[in-house]
Amino acid sequence: MSLNLSAEPRAAGVAAPATVPAIETRGLRKVYGRTTVLHDLTLTVEPGEVFGFLGPNGAGKTTTVKILLGLVRATAGEARICGLPAGDLAARRRVGYLPENFRFHDWLTGAGLLEFHGRLAGLSEEERRARIPQVIRRVGLAGRGDARIRTYSKGMTQRIGLAQAIFHRPDLVLLDEPTSALDPVGRHEVRDLIRSLRDEGITVFLNSHLLSEVELVCDRAAIIDRGRVVRSGRLGELLGATSQLRVTIDRVNDDLLAALKRHAEVLAVEVIDAGIEPGGASRTLAGNGSVTVTLAVDDPEIAPLVAETVMRRGHRLHGLVPVHRSLEEVFMDLVEGGEG
């Protein structure tokens, strides 16, 4: 089972003007009883990008998606899809959606599901007949389209869910945890599918808590916690903003640490070998050991400056490695640190 990633021609006249955001929310708020699920959520997703929407369980990700689709009404604020009010029929024509639980009418066959959704999306009989085998092949279900969905594995059900989401060639695809039931090969294939959708100019809004997935495929991302966007931007910016520099030197003393602190925050000092001579505030190695000083840097370009500082003070520089933090680390810091 594998995905067919050949690009498909877009239906004429359906593409959104490039200047209109694919998704735009302003001050979106949702309150259930006394619980506020979304707090003034403001978000812009540009057309043609793959946008990751991250957050822990209960952060408000699925509620946001449901508001965008008109399944849930916002208490306050505004949401637009391709410039149209979210939830309007015209907006929904432009959207494909894979729900989080990917539950479909299991008495239907895979092809029957696409037929039903194609009718609702307004595709002609001719279009439906032509597209059903194409899309089934594209999601790696060739030969299984006539089997009932109740006979599908979880992964196959998720694939047919992806098929119904892209069946009518939407401008925007909202994918809510699209790889949660897939094995590593299936996940890889879905990532490739998402990239191929981007190549076709389709905007993908990827709602996920699988951070590695987002890191691998998204252009931009927003991290949401307790109903608020705590950080958003291009993936490089999100990760780069909290880069580290690991400086490995022969020894360290207070003078050097004070000099390094002028360039960056010192996160940790780690002695790699035994044989330390007791020396008050100064820690000096007796043998061939080394000390690793971890610095938090906003701009990795300061590395030469750090090297110069070390050597000017007569220290031997064994290594200078910029370390980019993973999205998971950034996410954990933001969510656990309670920036939201």
Binding site: L71, V72, L89, P99, F104, W107, H117, L120
Partner: protein
């Protein structure tokens, strides 16, 4: 257009889940039993008819067997309506299957109307085929032709559609289990109130009559059945009831009041509108 797509989808579901096949088999079994029982009773009716003439005897047995058969069909149609629609919306919401569907350019009203249309069609077909077959069998066996089979059948369809709409409305605001409890209770309540009203009439007890009328307004299914049953009764039977002040408790001995018929038509339309409104405002 989308309404018809949803109606078609709902019918496909009924076929795929073998509801129609199971219903057809059981209906044939019911009709077979009815024909057998009616034929046996009718051919032994001379022992039961006493002083009645052949014509009187035929009308009496024809009336009783037809009305009892139709009563059973009315019950079955009521159950069918409730079972079909009790989770028509709620179970779809609970399972999450509705989310992908309503993310399409489909109005929620179209979904409700499509569901209702398909179920109403199925129930109408069921009542029409069953009542028609039963009355035909009664005519073939006893040569008894009911006075107005069309009105009787149409009213029976209306009774089942009233229950269908009550249940569909409940399905937009309650969970499937809660809705099941409520609608089956209402079904039973309407039946009981009908009996109380008939007994109240026989005893000329105004309080009992008022209870019956009030419940009939709340759930008119049993009142509609009584209206339908009137069109099955032979004039001879009705004359006997009028003379002796005795009759079958489950049938109506007077034609349905026009106001009740109008209410019974407005009732499902109003509830359907309410279902569209409540479902339209509900967060999914």
């Amino acid at each position: 257009m989308n309404t018809l797509t949803v109606a078609r989808f709902t019918l496909q579901e009924a076929i795929s889940r073998r509801l129609i096949l199971a219903g057809a088999i059981l209906s044939l079994a019911f009709l077979g039993l009815f024909v057998l029982g009616f034929a046996l009773i009718y051919h032994n009716s001379s022992e039961l008819s006493g002083p009645l003439s052949d014509e009187q005897s035929r009308a009496m047995f024809g009336t009783i067997m037809s009305v009892m058969g139709l009563y059973a069909i009315n019950f079955l149609a009521g159950f069918l309506a409730l079972f079909l629609s009790v989770g028509a919306i709620s179970s779809e919401i609970d399972s999450g299957a509705l989310h992908a569907v309503l993310a399409r350019p489909l109005r929620r009203a179209e979904f409700i109307l499509g569901r209702w249309l398909a179920y109403a069609g199925l129930i109408g077909l069921y009542v029409g085929l069953m009542a028609g077959s039963l009355l035909l069998a009664a005519w073939l066996i006893s040569d008894y032709a009911v006075p107005d089979p069309v009105r009787a059948t149409l009213l029976m369809m209306l009774a089942a559609i009233v229950l269908l709409t009550v249940s569909l409305f409940g399905s937009t605001v309650l969970s499937t289990l809660a809705n099941g409890v409520v609608v089956f209770s209402l079904f039973g309540l309407a039946w009981l109130a009908g009996i109380i009203e008939v007994i109240g009439g026989a005893l000329s007890n105004q309080a009992m009559l008022n209870i019956g009328t009030a419940v009939s307004l709340l759930v008119p299914s049993d009142a509609i059945w009584r209206g339908a049953s009137y069109y099955v009764l032979s004039p001879l039977y009705l004359a006997g009831v009028s003379a002796n002040h005795e009759g079958i408790a489950i049938v109506g001995h007077s034609p349905p009041a026009t106001a009740m018929v109008i209410w019974s038509v407005l009732y499902p339309l109003t509830l359907l509108g309410a279902a569209v409104l409540t479902f339209g405002r509900r967060d999914l």
